[in-house]
């Protein structure tokens, strides 16, 4: 993965930059020692590492603003960071950047049940947002599997999803307002406690912009009353086609489950070996969860099971109590861990139209043979967001490159059938160079024009999202202007 050549002018002024940062931040909030900056050298895409020039850990919006003003004045690139769980290299530093981590900013600022929102500093972890309101019967809906660790900051930057987004939507559908600091230090409020934008939907534009438009320091998030209960069913089928058809029929019948999760045979086998959840050995397995009161759950599950039976399942398992529900989810929840036991893996995230599921799974199987690398599929079937996990051996010469080439082919396939490169993980550096497979140059120009407006000098997370060759002229103009 290519990164731009570090700006030697910036590198040569490290001492000055660090001294200036120390003028506006407490001593312990500026990290410039090489041994310590290593802690920030990568995110969860660990194949790529680069310690930043310095890291800063501000505690308030004012401190963030002061840091950005200095970096703006001195022409130093800034890479924002939440918890560093990005799978796309979104928080990967460059050698000439100041890494700005918001981890110290994790307060709850306000909870308001009458208006159903919570306002937090964005360094707060996803799960602890729900944690702050659950005793009062509320929850924050977007629930990425990384929710114990990932921060609201990263969730907003990546527009993260979760297992329950079929019903509740992703981050952008649950975000009401932000405080955002622009690269020149200007602090702005976008959105608020009301529902719709008064002018252009800048909030919608900021969500998913991968830290390239500003640093988000506070967020107003929609919270929802907790449903009375939830219950899953598990069903096994002897082909991917039939499982796919069953999903479509359930949706067409007017049931809207909160989650429809899909696992294929390689994934079932791996998780069984690891977690021993007692899954049936079959080609495709669905876990479907519905919510409501006990009677409502019975009504919906009744309909779902009736539809499933029409597709001759090899197994149908209803959870009668919390224990059985836990066992149904056990395998799914340990899928990633299970794959990690077998080998190194790369997790893809393309989305496809649900109707293309059987075809895409078949093609992935064929490509797996061609590349000689195993793939397991586990994903959110209701919305077509696939997560093929390609297994490889990081210690074997050339295996990573082979795996990346295979991954790129799968993503191109997703685009070819009418889908996209990434459904929830973001582009980062990982899918940057594939953007030209999904977008024409006018489409990319229109996106980069937005960055021109928000960050004319292209200093915020500049080497991400757009292919380097495509953003080159903008980044070099910014450099020359310094």
């Amino acid at each position: 993965m290519q990164m731009p050549k570090p700006d030697s002018h910036v590198l040569s002024r490290k001492d000055l930059i660090v001294a200036r940062l120390k003028e506006v931040l407490p001593e312990d909030a500026v990290i410039s020692d090489e041994a310590e900056t290593r802690a920030y050298e990568c995110d969860a895409l660990t194949a790529y590492k680069c310690p930043p020039l310095a890291a800063v850990l501000p505690s308030s919006t004012q401190e963030v603003s002061a840091v950005l003003k200095i970096c703006h004045e001195l022409g130093v690139p800034v890479v924002p960071r939440g918890s560093g769980t990005s799978l796309a290299g979104g928080a990967l530093p460059t050698a000439d950047c100041v890494l700005l981590g918001v981890a110290r900013m994790n307060d709850v600022i306000e909870t308001d049940y009458d208006n159903r929102f919570i306002r937090v500093q964005t360094g707060r972890t996803n799960l602890s947002v729900t944690g702050a309101v659950e005793e009062d019967g509320f929850f924050y809906a977007p629930d990425p599997s990384s929710q114990l660790a990932c921060a609201i900051a990263g969730n907003i930057a990546m527009n993260s999803g979760g297992a329950h987004c079929l019903k509740y939507g992703v981050t952008t559908n649950n975000l009401m307002g932000v405080t955002i600091v622009q690269m020149d230090g200007t602090v702005m409020e976008i959105g608020g406690k009301h529902l719709d934008a008064g002018g252009y939907d800048l909030l919608g534009l900021i969500c998913g912009s991968e830290g390239q438009l500003g640093v988000v320091t506070e967020a107003t998030l929609r919270i929802l009353p907790k449903p009375e209960g939830a219950r899953p069913v598990l069903m096994g089928f002897d082909s991917n086609e039939v499982a796919g058809a069953c999903v479509a029929d359930i949706i067409k019948a007017g049931v809207l489950p909160v989650a429809i999760e899909f696992m294929d045979r390689p994934c079932i086998e791996a998780t069984e070996a690891f977690a021993k959840a007692g899954y049936p050995m079959c080609e495709a397995l669905l876990i479907i969860e519905v919510e409501g009161s006990a009677a409502e759950i019975d009504e919906q599950l009744g309909l779902i099971l009736q539809i499933a039976r029409r597709h001759n399942p090899v197994e149908l398992r209803e959870a009668k109590d919390a224990d059985e529900a836990g066992r149904i989810w056990l395998g799914r929840k340990s899928a990633f861990g299970a794959m990690g036991q077998i080998n190194d893996y790369m997790c893809l995230d393309g989305t496809i139209p649900v109707s293309e599921l059987p075809y895409v799974l078949r093609r992935i199987g064929e490509m797996s043979k061609e590349y000689g690398l195993d793939v397991a599929n586990v994903f959110h079937a209701g919305d077509g967001n696939m997560h093929p996990l390609i297994l490889f051996d990081a210690n074997k010469e050339g295996d990573l490159e082979l795996c990346e080439a295979f991954g790129a082919d799968i993503l191109r396939l997703c685009v070819e059938v009418g889908g996209c490169l990434t459904g929830e993980h973001g582009v980062g550096i990982e899918k940057r160079d594939l953007m030209v497979d999904q977008f024409a140059s006018a489409d990319l120009e229109a996106q980069m024009a937005v960055k021109d407006v928000f960050d004319p000098a292209w200093l915020l997370n500049p080497a991400k999202v757009f292919p380097l060759a495509v953003s080159e002229s903008r980044r070099s103009v910014a450099l020359a202007a310094e």
Binding site: R116, H194, K252, V450
Partner: protein, 367 residues
């Protein structure tokens, strides 16, 4: 001008020297100076997959055509776009592009989200005549910046939409409306907060201070499978035990009641300006008192105030500073949209300068 293809539209716009006014059905009250570009020639549903909950259509497709196609499969646009015709005194046929350009939503916005929350993709022609696409037809997509949201609700000032893709949802089997009589504005807002904060999935919460019989009525909607609606309507009604509560189960009456709120029927044919105020729900009653309107009603649990005032009333100065914004929906003499703080206005202006450097698309509408 009435282009029949996206390419024709692109040529027209790149050739345009002066302002153009983009019109779908012309039902939403946007009438600006300049050459009119009608989108009606760009019509037709391109793709509809009920099993994937996805619909793609050209922007000039009539809303009625879209709704009929969805209805045939037992699905709908869940954000419940309002019909502006009665309020604006317009005839004409609303188009899907007009709904998207205005981010037009209805009472269900409070639970399922606005039009923007159901938008999956757009194609548009920007002010230079360049065709741009963003998003796509799949339900989860974070590939690049979300220009879909930017274009939704941009009222034709950043580009002329040519094709839109949307997520659609199943039509519920059944619906009920819980009606509480006689509440003051403040008590109604509190009651709506209580219902919306319950786990019973209320999909509409409105308060009409002067209902059909001249007295206040608060409306709460429940939708879903029949058994579940019975159960939840009962639970919600029980939250207000001791008050004047009724449960309406007649489907036609429920549909009609909510269409009445959605389209602000009480204001139809009445004189004066009409304002739409988006605010923090619990501020609703106080803000309505500040406006001192001739007539008003609340939707979105108090978070949306419709106000009818004497022509020329400066509602924004009556409101003063508050969390939200006020839009002049019907009337003239003041900016249609709430003026933005300087830093935000600079971004909006910057975006317009990029997408419409000639400054010709619905010029002046959004600042």
């Amino acid at each position: 001008m009435r282009p029949e293809t996206e390419a024709e539209l692109a040529d027209m716009i790149s050739a345009a020297k002066g302002p153009v006014c983009v019109q779908g059905g012309g039902t939403r009250g946007v009438n600006l100076n300049g050459d009119v570009i009608e989108t009606g020639g760009l019509s037709g549903i391109t793709l509809y997959e009920p099993g994937s909950l996805t619909l793609v259509a050209q922007a000039g497709t009539l809303l009625a055509e879209v709704e009929a196609a969805l209805d045939a499969e037992g699905q709908r646009l869940a954000f419940e776009p309002m019909d502006h015709r009665g309020l604006m005194g317009k005839s004409g046929e609303p188009t899907l592009g007009g709904v998207v350009a205005g981010n037009v939503s209805g009472p269900r916005r409070v639970s399922v989200g606005a039009c923007r929350d159901f938008m999956l993709g757009v194609r548009f022609v920007d002010g230079t005549g360049t065709v741009v696409k963003n998003g796509g037809r799949v339900m989860k997509n974070v590939t690049g910046y979300d220009l879909v949201k930017l274009l939704t609700g941009s009222w034709g000032t950043l580009g002329v939409l040519t094709e839109v893709s949307l997520k659609v949802l199943p039509k519920p089997e059944s619906a009920a409306c819980i009606l509480i009589d006689g509440l003051s504005d403040a008590d109604a807002v509190a009651a709506m907060a209580k219902a919306l904060g319950s786990p019973f999935e209320v999909t509409g919460a409105a308060h009409i201070p002067v209902g059909l019989d001249g007295t206040p009525v608060t409306m709460l909607r429940i939708e879903g499978f029949a058994g579940s609606v019975d159960y939840r309507a009962g639970q919600v009604a029980a939250l207000f035990a001791g008050q004047e509560v009724r449960v309406e189960r007649n489907p036609d009456a429920v549909t009609k009641g909510w269409a009445w709120v959605r389209d602000v029927v009480p204001f139809h044919g009445a004189d004066g300006d009409v304002w739409r105020v988006s605010c923090t729900p619990s501020d609703g009653a106080d803000l309505a008192a500040k406006i001192g309107a001739e007539a008003h009603l609340f939707d979105w649990g108090g978070g949306l105030i419709w106000a009818r005032v004497a022509a020329g009333t400066d509602v924004r100065s009556r409101l003063g500073a508050f969390d939200g914004h006020a839009t002049l929906v019907r009337g003239t003499g003041q900016p249609k949209f709430q003026p933005e703080p300087a830093a935000v206005a600079a971004l909006s202006k910057g975006l317009r300068a990029k997408y419409d450097p000639k400054g010709i698309l619905n010029a002046g509408l959004m600042g």
